[in-house]
Symmetry: C2
Subunit: 152 residues, 2 copies
């Protein structure tokens, strides 16, 4: 991982569909060198994937909530995490320090659906309580700004 790799990664974080030729022009390498470097970064697990980002509201997912999950005394964190992963409305899942075992990000169409989703969360074995924070607006999300990649 040298500076050229970092530049390539930064560029691909900004534009995941940049061509190798384009990347080569911005970093000062041939397309085939970039191709080889990107392949190695993917193989090494540095680049884990490429994804189109969609405006959630325009695909009918206007309601976002952050839900803290308090576990029961006997809960297995791993089993709870797997169960959380089985709900498609749970987009992200973080195991956290504090009295909650997890914080999950939930995206649904309506508050009605949020209510149903919270019911499903509470019915998971090992879940004692949930604490829900409704998102009113997403100011920004997933910015590619502090990777240590941009500044050099």
């Amino acid at each position: 991982m040298d500076q050229l790799d970092r530049k390539i990664i930064a560029e691909l974080r900004n534009n995941g569909r940049a061509t190798y030729a384009e990347l080569g022009r911005t970093v000062g390498l041939s397309a085939s060198s970039v191709h080889e470097r990107v392949g190695k970064l993917e193989a090494a697990g540095v680049i884990t994937g490429y994804h189109a980002v969609v405006d959630p509201r325009r695909v009918g997912l206007g309601v976002t909530a952050l839900v803290g999950i308090q576990p029961t005394d006997t809960a297995s964190d791993d089993e709870v995490a797997v169960a959380l992963g089985e709900l498609p409305e749970v987009e992200s899942c973080y195991a956290v320090a504090g009295d909650e075992a997890f914080v999950v990000k939930v995206r649904v169409e309506t508050v009605d659906e949020l209510e149903r989703t919270l019911g499903r969360l509470r019915r998971i074995d090992g879940v004692a309580r949930t604490h829900t924070t409704v998102v009113l607006s997403t100011r920004f999300e997933g910015r590619p700004n502090n990777t240590g990649l941009d500044q050099g």
Copy 2:
């Protein structure tokens, strides 16, 4: 936005570098038709971008925290949000219901840097208190699973 568009979007969320020919094969259209549809989805703001996803730990960002931001009585939410956006270590920012005005996701290299970042957050005009939840592990994140796109 018909079912074909939804299929294309679902595919691009899974693989942001899928070629138009590949997309055409999976949805049953020609590459040129897919090209036209994707162009319209981008122009309509449904698809907002394409990004490579990087394993944060492999680029020296091993510490993640969720930070609730309590505002002062006189705070302007918009100004606080702008100030939060100026810190590169703040990756996402949500305005939320409840006694906190915002929840932000912070990513830094070390807990030392987390401490410094929290100091910077508290020094923002309009920020009264912060409440930090340290992420112990990310079980999954940003899954493209509940877009209403996948189930057809």
